[in-house]
Symmetry: C2
DNA sequence: CAGGATCCCTGCCGATACTG
DNA sequence: CAGTATCGGCAGGGATCCTG
């Protein structure tokens, strides 16, 4: 594992953080993961992204489209139908995301435990 | 690659997102990566995290300590010396982070290009 | 040196209402 | 159905000043 690019060159690091901001955008990872299955419609994503607002789904999808991670296809029908699909770039990103997604799923408990222990140490009262 | 856990169970997905929020915290990834080299002092991290404020470095490190990803060691000297080290859990997280860090470094240009093309399509004026 | 405490402002994001 | 537009709260985070 070589992180010299990150730790030695601040420019590289800044660049990485810049791109990571996109990953960090609250709903990005979930939307990308949901589209990993297959092409989906707007309403479908909205249903599966529990808790997301209509506005944020739109904003997130626009951002992903802008970054070339997702393609948006509009079918001129009534009622309208819009489908979203991962691009090739989007799929490589999902692959790169997989380890950290798996990590969060398998280490969530450890973090909760560490957090509880920390909170108990710092404020044992109550 | 199986993301059925993410796409089929919204609870799992929520859980993952919750943990990912921590990863998303503006400086988390950079600090973790910088500590990947070796144990470092507060001032050292501050110098290497170009652009971070003193406050945010403190806040970030406290969060990481709380989550059991980093250990904080205070040496009772004058002037004070405080060192930060990745825990075992922290190192596994860094490993899981590596692919996406590498991805951002190697696909930054593609994203920039896609973005420029998108912006040109939607607002060609100027 | 390594922070704690304050002030303050920006922009993220949710809620709501409206449209092709 | 799949958006756009608008308003508003509030928390993330920067700048600054102070301390053991």
């Amino acid at each position: 594992m070589d992180f010299s690019g990150l730790s030695e060159h601040s420019l590289e690091a800044c660049r990485a953080r810049e791109t990571l901001d996109r990953v960090a955008e609250k709903w990005t990872v979930m939307v990308i993961a949901l589209l990993g299955d297959r092409t989906k419609r707007f309403g479908e994503l909205k249903r599966e992204c529990v808790g997301i607002s209509q506005r944020m789904l739109t904003v997130t999808l626009r951002g992903l489209e802008r970054d070339g991670l997702v393609v948006r296809t509009v079918y001129p029908e009534i009622p309208p139908r819009v489908e979203y699909t991962l691009t090739k770039l989007g799929r490589t990103m999902l692959e790169a995301l997989e380890p950290i997604i798996v990590w969060t799923e398998s280490h969530g408990d450890e973090i909760d435990a560490a957090r509880a222990a920390y909170d108990h140490r710092t404020s044992p009262e109550e």
